[in-house]
Symmetry: D2
């Protein structure tokens, strides 16, 4: 059976510690961590996963694998720019949002279009109809409990 | 000078009359109406524009021009699926949202990522930091007043 | 009935005169000319179409309509980079290639994936299984005769 | 240091044995094998890599990870349809083509647009300016010798 893949999305230098914790917890539960492959929340989530011995995928906006942060094991260069947000959302069996702005909102929207479970870590974007969690632990538990078995 | 292009996004069978009015008003002001090229709000906005003698562009999710509704003058087949929402938002000097669900939220998010002015027609999606208008007239005036001159 | 759309693809400063002639001939036959919206062959084909009173669509790689050359009537900003070549090919009922290099080859390949008729103007890329024409007139006649009625 | 990623592209039921051998040889040399994640040549290359204890990435055209063949370790769901060919080409430090038709030609074209080394295994598509190899061994050696150190 393949490892579950969970996407961690978001941004904001102030959310790095939480993102790292989310990545670590996901890896401890055997999940592969999928991110957009760049900095801040993306790098922190990947770093946390690697610290826990996990595996990471980075789905990059540009055309060069060299853009990936150092904690990305497997880099996919999409050339899609902002639209790579769709592939990040689509490649997670669930999506956890940490901080973030408009780009993160697009990822949440696409995840919902695709029926993927989404959890917003508090404090986070205000989006009606999306689950929220108070801590990284709660976010990970909620995301995994809702992840589609068939995704 | 080229005509301004304004994107009309959204969905919902109950919002067709308003979308048609938005399309008509945009055409009367000399704007080309850009939509996703399919049904409901998209078709209504294009129909309204054509009734007023305007020009319409449909940016389709699929690979066939034949998918466009009959009020689309110029159909672009992107093959992008849901990601064509990005091209719709990017191709408008401003974006007006009428109704809608998660797909519309992705278009609003992308428009904001790109710095495009966005106006949500009431009642509409709750998105912090996005202008709102009570009527089609107000939505069109607000969108045009904020459209970037250089777009 | 909607105007036929024919995509003109290619590159090369030495092919500008031929591309302009292709654009002109397509417009004279009532076709809308679709290009990638930038320079050289793309600009020349659009300019030729406008000289003949035609209509032009530019499908841009970037996110700003301002990137379009001055002969583009309707600009679609895709943000797709090189992948916008797919949308160019998909948006033509037929595709005519004038000069070009690897990007043009991707457009020819995608047009064939989609079953669109493709004509390469001599001298041009060597691609097995693609029709060739000796002159702009012949290229336009061949492309139109093979354009799918249902596209 | 990260593992090199090499994309194996192509199609054709008659080329499965060679594709499996290419995948096996790449894994033996420590490369991660990137494919489009579906059947025939894609599945065979991934299967070969797994038989040799390697790691595989599948870059899927659709929106569901469940579409991946069983030898894909890490599946990226792009929703890009045919355009996912770009991401496959972009995600390889080199590209090896086994068999194939128009879709494969688009991958070769995009790889060349991006400056990635490409090797066509004989018998294969006729594309001017692309290296050719007579055997899977030769294809793998040639691809690796030309892979950009910085990709």
């Amino acid at each position: 059976m393949k490892a579950r893949q969970v996407a961690v999305v978001g941004s904001g230098p102030g959310r790095v510690a939480e993102a790292e914790e989310v990545g670590r917890l996901l890896a401890e539960r055997g999940c592969t961590v999928v991110t957009g492959g760049l900095g801040e929340v993306m790098a922190a989530a990947a770093r946390g996963a690697k610290e826990a011995g996990g595996t990471t995928i980075g789905i990059l906006p540009g055309t060069s694998r060299a853009d990936a942060n150092e904690w990305v094991d497997h880099a996919v260069a999409t050339g899609l720019g902002h639209m790579r947000n769709f592939a990040v959302a689509a490649s997670g069996d669930a999506v956890i949002a940490v901080g973030g702005a408009w780009g993160t909102l697009s990822e949440i929207a696409f995840a919902k279009v695709l029926g993927r479970p989404v959890v917003i870590l508090e404090p986070g974007l205000e989006v009606e109809g999306v689950d929220r969690a108070a801590t990284p632990e709660e976010a990970v538990e909620l995301a995994l409990s809702r992840a589609r078995a068939d995704a």
